[in-house]
Symmetry: C2
Subunit: 147 residues, 2 copies
């Protein structure tokens, strides 16, 4: 199996080089087929909804022509926020792998904990902490260069 989290980390590095908060995501369909491979575009597009996970879901939905991506797994370098967690639920993703924890903005294991809410009608399996150190290091470098 390809190393999807490292692919997501490369997307995060490219996002950082574009001046974006370094977050990358890879969406994988059945048979290990990559259907989206994207980084954060919030600054470039001046679009507060252009988080990597949202772009992955939108690209994946377009690539498959399906609004529900039930066989798909998402690899993302940062804990999804509440916006992205809800989008992941609506898209019916099977599994979410995320790298770094985000106590300030996360919506999976922090804050809204969207998947545990009674208003959440599909919760993916969640695997956290994979390549956490690399993802956290990228974020740390990005913010220390800017502050």
């Amino acid at each position: 199996m390809p190393d999807f989290m490292n692919m997501a980390l490369r997307e995060a590095e490219q996002a950082s080089a574009r001046g974006e908060v370094p977050v990358g995501a890879v969406l994988v369909a059945a048979g290990n087929r990559v259907i989206a491979q994207v980084g954060n575009r919030v600054e470039e597009w001046r679009d507060p909804t252009a988080h990597a996970e949202m772009l992955a879901i939108r690209e994946g939905a377009k690539a498959t022509g399906l609004g529900r991506l039930t066989d798909c797994d998402l690899y993302v370098t940062l804990e999804p926020c509440a916006m992205c967690a809800a989008a992941i639920s609506f898209a019916r993703l099977r599994r979410v792998y995320y790298a770094a924890y985000d106590p300030k903005g996360g919506g999976v294991d922090h804050g809204a904990r969207f998947f545990t809410q009674p208003t959440c009608h599909h919760a993916p399996e969640v695997v956290s902490g994979m390549e956490e150190h690399k993802a956290a290091q990228l974020l740390k470098e990005f913010f220390s260069a800017r502050r």
Copy 2:
């Protein structure tokens, strides 16, 4: 002042006519300037993120060239879900007016209650219940025709 909630209700009616869950939204900038006027496109676009609020924010950001819509107010016919509530927060909207309550899927006064979370770094003023009956009736008719 134009009746922005009734404009949003007309967008909801048009969404219903397209086979979409009837939700409409209007985004208003300073001076009562409408910068987005949209309905739900989830089915047509097969995009689970294409809620009216998300489209309004993306259109508004494009129209103004700004990622932060600090002077803007959103009128929406249904209580925003957690995805949309987080997007509203990221876009720094000033005020959100919503019509019908959504106990099953809402993320403002139900479920994630995103604006009350410690991970929420900007909460708009929220006004709920305006034209609630009309919006709820539209939703009721839509679902009763389909079940």
